[in-house]
Symmetry: C2
Subunit: 172 residues, 2 copies
């Protein structure tokens, strides 16, 4: 950048707070849930384009990242929590209804783990899943953006299957 006039004074300005980031994510997760609901049962677990994973596997990735990821950030244990125990693992989920139940459990988990994160921790460096070194904030942004990325792929699957996806801009 050649012009730094706006950026020199800003370090102490809060653009996004933990509370607003949590809300932002949960609003995105509502849209992601609608995309999951829009899928036909059979194709959710089987339809693929170009050798990519079926959409259930992308949703399981979102669920696993959010559940184990927030557990890791809050407690240091990078694993899904007992709330998901009756599923054994995401891999054993074989119906849309179970996926939606897991999704809703993780919605609650995120809220609960979030409340356990000291504000100062958001800027700490963590080794997510023992592998990915980043700040807590950037780790969470990665979870959110990974969800947007794969959800966008779900839109293509739905269109290819002849279904109208929910509007991207509808956050109701």
């Amino acid at each position: 950048m050649t012009n730094n006039t706006a950026t020199t004074q800003e370090e102490s300005i809060a653009l996004i707070t933990p509370a607003s980031l949590l809300q932002h994510w949960q609003v995105h997760r509502k849209l992601s849930r609608k995309v999951l609901v829009a899928f036909p049962e059979k194709e959710l677990f089987s339809f693929s384009i170009g050798g990519m994973r079926p959409y259930d596997e992308l949703v399981k990735e979102m669920i696993g990242l959010a559940s184990a990821g927030m557990n890791g950030i809050a407690t240091g244990k990078w694993e899904t929590t007992p709330l998901l125990d009756h599923f054994n693992s995401e891999a054993n989920i074989t119906s849309k209804q179970e996926l939606l139940e897991a999704w809703d459990e993780v919605t609650e988990q995120i809220d609960n783990f979030w409340a356990q994160i000291p504000v100062a921790h958001f800027h700490d460096i963590v080794m997510a899943f023992g592998m990915y070194e980043n700040t807590v904030l950037d780790t969470i942004l990665y979870f959110i953006e990974n969800e947007i990325h794969h959800r966008g792929q779900g839109y293509v699957y739905l269109r290819a299957l002849g279904f109208e996806p929910p509007a991207f801009w509808d956050r109701s």
Copy 2:
């Protein structure tokens, strides 16, 4: 949330600053540029799945939103700036090379407009493109997330065409 201990004290804590948000977006735009580069010339302007727009139109949307959007936020004029004049409009771009040139111009525009935005303006409500009422911050987040959403769709197009997309997690 039942537990508010972490969220009651946080309002003055800066998670994301204007400078870090700008950097975050520009790093995403690098990945988006790589996805554009990965497309074969002909299919970039013609390949479609399920009646969706070809990828050139999704890229033109990203370019138009960023260029006109940042102009609007910085100056109140929700239109692409003179930097893009030699293209007349994004609609007239008919080669990958021109798209890449427009992309790179917008990279510079974003930096320049960003430096003109007073920090306090990020929390102001604006009517983006005369239609979408939101804070400046949420308007910019929408630009970024819309880019991630459509870029994810580009990944499916590339896979369907038999091309390996750049890794989502590679932000180099």
